[in-house]
Amino acid sequence: MKLSVNALNSFYGPAHILFDVELDVAEGEVVALLGRNGAGKSTTFRSIVGLVAQRSGRIVFEGRDVTREPTHAIVRAGLGYVPEDRRIFTDLTVEENLEVGRQPPRAGAPQWTRDKLFTLFPNLGEMRSRLGGRMSGGEQQMLTIARTLMGNPSLVLLDEPSEGLSPKIVEQMAHAILTMKKEGVSILVSEQNLHFARLISDRVSIIERGRICYRGTMEELEARPDIRDAHLAV
């Protein structure tokens, strides 16, 4: 297993948010974590990378227990995290944004250079010295992913990459994610858009009210209209 999360419980102050969350991602796999806003997707991701202080459970990344490690150490171990709401540095240029994410190359993980990223996201290559704040939502989303890839991660957590993007940009995003997968990056992606998840993922977990309520392959989920209706009905 690339990443396995066992019995993860998280709290914000007195509020218990996650209940015994179990997740795993195998080498080279794309796993989708589906659920509505407030179901606990972002909290799960933030807990995995250590941005939620109050949590219990066990998080093992590439065979190493990272539960007690600080965020920057987890990320430096090769676990990249793309936060929701884009959160690019609006006062920094595209190149400076990428510089913040830069980490030395790592054995066993695909290596990314600026030029390689500009091939993956051609738009970004055309605006290297533009300020982040002057980019459209779609371009910003691509920049956040590129910025995380600059750290040469072997696994990336993508928090709602399609949120608030136009259908056409979402299609480009799906293409980029599949390219990342081909390059050898394992991906855990949180989503609400089932159509999008269907395009990119191998396996699915559904989270509701802080609990994982369904796990299976994409095909299995397709064959279970009852589950789709209960949690994701279109």
Binding site: N37, S136, G164, Q192, H195, V234
Partner: protein, 264 residues
């Protein structure tokens, strides 16, 4: 045009630029009472700017916004509200330190102009009306709950109740279903559509979920680079080659029923 024959909302030549960048250029459209109009377009097309000019957060450089024939261009948000425009936000904006019912009561107090009346008590103000509004959006059982404890979908419904509290003629909804599960999206939009049609409220909403847009909008307008490039029924818009090229893409990420090839 007299007030009786004027459309509910008439927008004419709306224009705004920021530091030399044209965010919105010469946009005109109209909306009649009871009609549901969707505003779509790529990210950065100027939807938010357009929306914020309608609700008073941004003053346009040029153009007119008229509500029932009366000019509301450049009024402050609270003045726009006083003239009968309710709104919901992309990220819910509620009062977390109050109960669900108090959230509505504060708005009712403001609507009645009683904010500076020291002899009035908010928690006992217009109980019946507050409960009626909560009942309307299906939140009747939550009246005593602290608003900060609500689930996201419930907050969205509370926001709808709040937006309806001043008996608006026009409802502005900025990505009303963002962050909700598909089923909740459908339920919220059905509820909104039913209330709008029953009470003859015009609804203008922005949205990226094409399933929601094609299912519930009577008409769709499309913005690109600040300009209006298409307008029509959902079927017309999704057949428009230009809209498909710049916005809809190949239709892989919304419901098959709404794709061009299966449209009947």
């Amino acid at each position: 045009m007299s007030a009786s024959t004027a459309p509910l909302l008439a927008v004419e030549g709306l224009t705004k630029s920021f530091g030399g960048v044209h965010a919105v250029r010469n946009v005109s459209f109209a909306l009649t009472a009871g009609e549901i109009l969707a505003l779509i377009g790529p990210n950065g097309a100027g939807k938010t700017t357009c929306f914020n000019m309608l609700n008073g957060q941004i003053t346009p450089d040029a153009g007119h916004i008229r509500l029932e024939g009366r000019e509301i261009t450049g009024l402050a948000p609270r003045e726009v509200w006083r003239r009968g425009v309710g709104r919901t936000f992309q990220i819910t904006a509620t009062f977390p330190t109050m109960t669900v019912r108090e959230n509505v009561q504060v708005v009712l107090v403001s609507h009645e102009g009683q904010i500076f009346n020291p002899w009035c008590s908010t928690p006992t103000f217009a109980l019946a009306e507050a409960d009626r509004l909560l009942e309307l959006v299906g939140m009747g059982g939550f009246a005593e709950r602290p608003c900060g404890e609500l689930a996201y979908g419930d907050l969205k419904r509370l926001e709808l109740a709040v937006a309806l509290a001043n008996r608006p003629k026009l409802l502005l909804m900025d990505e009303p279903t963002a962050g909700m599960a598909p089923r909740e999206r459908i339920e919220l939009m059905r509820l909104t559509a039913r209330i709008a049609r029953e009470q003859k409220i015009g609804v203008l909403f922005t949205e990226h979920d094409m399933d929601v847009v094609f299912e519930h909008a009577d008409r769709v307008i499309v913005l690109n680079r600040g300009m209006l490039i298409a307008e029509g029924t959902p079927a017309e818009v999704r057949h428009d080659p230009q809209v498909r090229a710049i916005y809809l893409g190949e239709g892989l990420v919304y419901d098959a029923r709404h794709r061009e090839d299966s449209a009947t």
